[in-house]
Symmetry: C2
Subunit: 131 residues, 2 copies
């Protein structure tokens, strides 16, 4: 599998785990490190896997579930780092709308697996119009 | 200069150029490529340097200037890729507030210089409280 495809598969697995509200699956997708960072839409940035894990537990507790429809996915791979930008089109839970997201993945050479190390999502409220 | 310091210097140069509303300086800081991506707070993601350049021109046209005070800067370097997370504390232009930001930089080995390839900022409206 090409690196780009492997990264997109890891990216898809992240949203599948989010949809399934599966904290165990998420734990296997994220890099469980102090350098892991997560910015939920409108939130301050969380640093370190422990706070990130708690935030997802809290989100799952308070939500009836979300469906993510990804559009505009773009992936870049450079060595053992990759970043994906996409639009998360959300359905459900009263949160319908579109979130602009960027996800950074790192590969551990020894395992050839990609882990999510940074997630940043922000609600889209403005549409760019060329001046 | 250690790689981390070089990345933080490039990150600082980005905000200096933003504060100075200096489009020429910005042009030397960004990777002028199709893969460059930029998500201004509340905006949809812009793809490619040309649209990014236009967006900054538009922002500079409509703004009296912003001051950025960076806090919580964290940098990670992995090979020729680096990412920085920080809080942009904004003063001026009626936009006072804090933006959570993530910036991705890439190094061109031949030049040992770091270029900004992805910028994502989102307004902080929620404070995380542990469940």
């Amino acid at each position: 599998m090409a690196s780009e495809d492997a990264v997109l598969a890891a990216n898809r697995a992240f949203y599948d785990a989010f949809e399934a509200q599966d904290l165990n699956a998420l734990s296997g997708i994220w890099e469980q490190s102090d350098r892991a960072v997560c910015t939920h839409p409108g939130w301050a940035t969380l640093h370190g896997w422990e706070d990130i894990r708690k935030s997802f537990a809290m989100i799952f507790d308070g939500s009836e579930g979300l469906q993510f429809i990804a559009t505009n996915e773009r992936v870049q791979v450079l060595g053992n780092t990759a970043w994906v930008t996409l639009d998360e089109n959300l359905l459900g839970g009263g949160l319908t709308g579109t979130v602009a997201a960027m996800n950074v993945f790192v590969r551990r050479s020894s395992r050839s697996r990609w882990y999510l190390v940074a997630h940043h999502g922000s609600p889209i409220t403005t549409t760019f119009v060329e001046p």
